[in-house]
Assembly symmetry: C2
Homo-oligomer: 323 residues x 2
Amino acid sequence: MEAGGSLAGDVLLGQPWIPVSVSGCQLLAKSWFGETTYHILLSDLHSVWEERMDAEAIQIRAKDLNKRLQAPVKAFFSYLYEVVQPFLSGDNSGADSKAQISLTKQEGGNISIGLKSKLEGLPFHWEFHCIPAPVTLVCVQLVRPLLAMSRLLQQQVDQLGGLLVRKDAEILDYKENGATLTRERLQTDVFEEHTFRQDFMAKALPLLCAERPDVLGFDADLQRLYGAVVTHRTARKRKLPEERVVEELQTEGAALSSSPAAKSVGVDTAGDDRKQSHNGQVDEAEAKTASKQTVPQSLAVSSEPAERPSTKSKKKKKVGLFR
Amino acid sequence: MEAGGSLAGDVLLGQPWIPVSVSGCQLLAKSWFGETTYHILLSDLHSVWEERMDAEAIQIRAKDLNKRLQAPVKAFFSYLYEVVQPFLSGDNSGADSKAQISLTKQEGGNISIGLKSKLEGLPFHWEFHCIPAPVTLVCVQLVRPLLAMSRLLQQQVDQLGGLLVRKDAEILDYKENGATLTRERLQTDVFEEHTFRQDFMAKALPLLCAERPDVLGFDADLQRLYGAVVTHRTARKRKLPEERVVEELQTEGAALSSSPAAKSVGVDTAGDDRKQSHNGQVDEAEAKTASKQTVPQSLAVSSEPAERPSTKSKKKKKVGLFR
């Protein structure tokens, strides 16, 4: 019933939503790249789009877009990943300076993201053809996590309010026994939850709504919380021992890493680790190293099995060279 | 571009999501009833369904389902509202004891909610035919408000954390000057935000995920916040003077009332007020009175103009009796 309920879907669920800018258009992006497969989600918070591609589909489009290019799909994919990942991770600083990316909204609600670069001195073209995502996927990837996040944050607000009331009781006890402050500026007002909420809302709501409409607002704190919620849910679904889940959640930043989610669903995350670092941005050094390792191997016709079998590509026949 | 961007859509946006149970199925429901039109949304957080009906469509279905029934669409609609609203507001206590409601999941992803009751001693049948809602509507009604709620709650968490740090500074000043507690139990630990968050997550996440899957968790606090966010956004869109919006937001419970949203979009909310009270539940007394007022008027063939013109019915031709 759930979109993204598959193994690959669970791994994608563990990825953060990252604010990205593609030719001036502000989007939230979420992506998972396997061995020779990918699944990307994009949203402007008015619509949600996705594209899932496997080795065979990538090979066909690669050949169609790059007539003169002769390369194994694995080499092509590795380069595609290296070029596109900086964009998808919101970190354009590390992007291939020769690469150009463009977004086209098409009739029927689809969007297309075009990519132009060079591989081995030859023009390199790619297009992501993203179609509107089904509501079930939007529920899995956005609605349920956001509702869970809101509940957790509301609980935190309640607990912090309770702590403030206890602090005030402690302060009152000191005062009633004649204690005075040496520095008047340290004096605080007694906390009153209802008044706090009303004042907060009166100030915060206008600011929230005065923002430019393209501010999508999925900031680092919310990304961390999102990661914690979905990682934990995925882990539960896979019946991971409770103590291991808690341990992972207690690791600072673990929430945002794709590793816990991937581990929890039993996927070798060597690739994911290099592709998504804890702050949701590409680790350039690792990415480049990884690519350097991968490209030469696969530029030669190689029939060696993939070191990191991906969930989909296993089912697909491997083709060494475009024919 | 926005589903629900219409006047009626804005009024619906201002309604709360209410947990309801229909033949054992837990759903979130959101509904708006006009003069002789309605728009309902239902979600199990895996899918979202909707039905929008205007006077003409209601009249056709009413005649089709109730062959022997002779009544003006306005009288039929008023009774339909009276029977169904307790279910849609999650308050079955006030529901017509003779009324039976049933939910059927159909092929193609649609759901149908059947209603059986009696009107003037005759069998009264109604069916809500809900189809999957478009992603744009899910974004408007769930994703964007939930993200805004999360941001506001995160800001509250940050502000409360800051207040706790100031309380600790005040407490420290008292202690450094020799103040002691008369009651040891009033002693509090120094607040450390990072530790608090980690402890909270380690405790709260397992509880959240251990819940029965049908717990949808849109509780009263979140409903209030949802109402504040969407009411404010609607008000902004309609360019309501800032001070009036703030004033409305500062009114306790105003967030959950359909009135501010409706007022802000310039709709006479006499009907909405009676239909949705501040805690998101039907005010039975008002509802019964209102129905008593409405039904007799409209049981007589009446060509008087609607006291509360609804956005859609205005465009539709009015028919006094089924033909």
